[in-house]
């Protein structure tokens, strides 16, 4: 199986971190994976995005023109990636910052999750909105196992912030259960 996803939002939302986490989890599950971040001047003006490709066979291109899925954390990213998503693909949007009415396309499997609100009110830290969204994406697509994500958290969170790992687990779980309840 091959799948791919573009994740996009503001710098500082933790986009690259969830991309890394997903990739490392796939690696731990023994699969091929590539991760490609936006770089250089693309980062000016405060945007961030990355592309992750997961596969059981050797991966060719790490860059994807027409992604099978997108995780969109802010408004400008929706404008940019909405037209690119493949017919029938998965779209997870952060409803706290992105207006679902703007999606328009009827062919997509849309999940509008209030990631900021869940992160702030349920998990207890707005910083974790992207983690919530990742939990939802993984529940929706089965890209990797949830447990692998939990297990890999120590590999993307530095020693200094180790104590926040349980909070991150909660964020992933909240995203997961929201997605399950809105299937």
């Amino acid at each position: 199986m091959t799948t791919d996803v573009i994740m996009a939002g503001f710098g500082g939302q933790g986009i690259l971190m969830i991309g890394n986490l997903l990739s490392i989890a796939a690696m731990e599950e023994g699969r091929h994976v590539t991760y490609f971040p936006a770089y250089g001047v693309e980062m000016r003006g405060g945007t961030a995005n990355c592309t992750v490709v997961l596969s059981d066979e050797e991966i060719g291109s790490p860059v994807v023109g027409r992604p099978r899925a997108c995780v969109v954390m802010n408004g400008p990213s929706l404008d940019r990636y909405l037209p690119a998503i493949r017919e029938g693909g998965d779209l997870v949007i952060n409803r706290s910052l992105v207006d679902p009415a703007k999606v328009g396309r009827k062919d997509l499997r849309l999940l509008a999750i209030p990631a900021n609100d869940i992160a702030r009110e349920v998990v207890g830290s707005q910083q974790l909105a992207s983690m919530v969204a990742l939990g939802a994406y993984v529940q929706r697509t089965g890209a990797v196992r949830m447990q692998t994500l939990f297990d890999c958290l120590p590999k993307v969170i530095s020693k200094k912030y180790e104590k926040f790992i349980p909070l991150n687990v909660n964020a992933l779980k909240e995203g997961e259960s929201f997605a399950r309840n809105h299937a």
Binding site: S23, M27, F36, G40, P62
Partner: protein, 358 residues
């Protein structure tokens, strides 16, 4: 297959960082450079790691200064590396020519971007000519290695140091933003030296021996001519001994893609798709761009119906392909200057060449 064991050894890293890990494994303890996108991960990694293992990282005020720092450390007999991109590599050309003339080893990494001029930071293979034909003055050559995965960024970095020392010559790694910026798992195979690192020619002070020089100026009689023929023999030896390439499903292939680096990487997906449809496609992927696998190419040209050259430029390696074979009527070209071809595009091209409709 023992998945667990294989998984154990894999590390997940950026291509640019894997180069650093390979260089350090090969004993490189000196790195100099100047910031430029898309290779900044290399100086950033080196600035964090070299000081912790007794190495030296120094940021120069320009690439002109950088390559001359490199010249000095190389003349001192140490393994040393720099990295840059398009405009910075251009500024190093004078120094590279001096180093080739003075027979000094070093590894120079070009994570190339699109040009000419300031161009852009999109991935590109527009520096093929500059790298392979050597952009500095006077006529010299250097081994040029073209990684297409993070694994190769690591292993070819080690190889580059050995080639540089073996031939007392700069060696170049030619990558681009895709292989530089992408992360993927790779296995940290141990470094096994293939050359002696003894450098009796190094300038270490003449205690106990006559003084010696590192230089490229030869004024007397026909000394420069003699020197040129000596260098030439070295380049011939590279061509005899150092050709490296990957044969990707060439057995029985009727269409042979010829591509290197990122273009080859993307082609693999397209070839997988085409083969599933029964199209006999394969690929010759030069790993060394100099020396170019010309003899292998000619061999394949005899067997196949089509040679499809794919490059992220308007046709540079294409000239080396043409120079390697007389079957010019079999050659087709797909060029994407300053952009990565998509697997879909290449697949479409393969279908067309195989006589299948779109």
């Amino acid at each position: 297959m023992n998945v667990a064991a294989r998984v154990e050894q894999r590390v997940f890293m950026k291509g640019n960082e894997a180069i650093c890990v390979g260089a350090i494994a090969a004993g490189c303890r000196f790195y100099y450079g100047y910031p430029i996108t898309p290779q900044n991960d290399i100086p950033e990694y080196m600035s964090a790691h070299l000081p912790t293992i007794g190495g030296t990282f120094l940021q120069a005020e320009s690439e002109v200064a950088t390559i001359n720092f490199i010249l000095g450390t190389s003349a001192s007999g140490k393994r040393v590396m720099t990295s840059s991109s398009g405009p910075g590599i251009s500024l190093m050309q004078e120094g590279l020519s001096y180093m080739a003339g003075s027979e000094l080893p070093a590894v120079v990494v070009n994570i190339s971007r699109s040009g000419p001029g300031l161009g852009g930071i999109a991935p590109s293979q527009g520096d093929y000519f500059q790298a392979v034909k050597c952009g500095g003055h006077g006529g010299y050559r250097m081994p040029v290695l073209a990684p297409h995965s993070v694994q190769e960024m690591y292993s070819l970095a080690m190889l580059a140091f050995d080639l540089a020392d073996k031939y007392r010559n700069p060696a170049m790694i030619l990558g681009d933003a895709i292989v530089g910026q992408m992360k993927e798992p790779f296995t940290q195979t141990p470094y096994v030296p293939t050359v002696s690192q003894e450098k009796p020619w190094a300038l270490t002070g003449c205690a106990g021996r006559p003084r010696q020089h590192v230089k490229s100026l030869y004024l007397k009689d026909n000394a420069i001519e003699v020197h040129n023929w000596k260098l030439h023999r070295k380049y011939l030896k590279m061509q005899e001994e150092e050709v490296r390439y990957e044969d990707y499903h060439l057995d029985g292939a009727k269409i042979a893609v010829v591509a290197f680096g990122t273009a080859a990487r993307v082609s693999k997906t397209a070839i997988q798709w085409a083969r599933r449809e029964g199209i006999a496609a394969g690929m010759l992927r030069p790993i060394t761009l100099f020396p170019f696998p010309g003899a292998q190419l000619e061999e394949i040209a005899k067997r196949v119906d089509v040679l499809l050259v794919i490059e992220m430029n308007t046709g540079q390696m294409l000239e080396d392909v043409k120079a390697s074979t007389t079957f010019h009527d079999k050659i087709r070209f797909l060029g994407k200057p300053c952009a990565m071809p998509t697997p879909e595009e290449i697949h479409g091209e393969l279908r067309k060449l195989a006589g299948r409709g779109r």
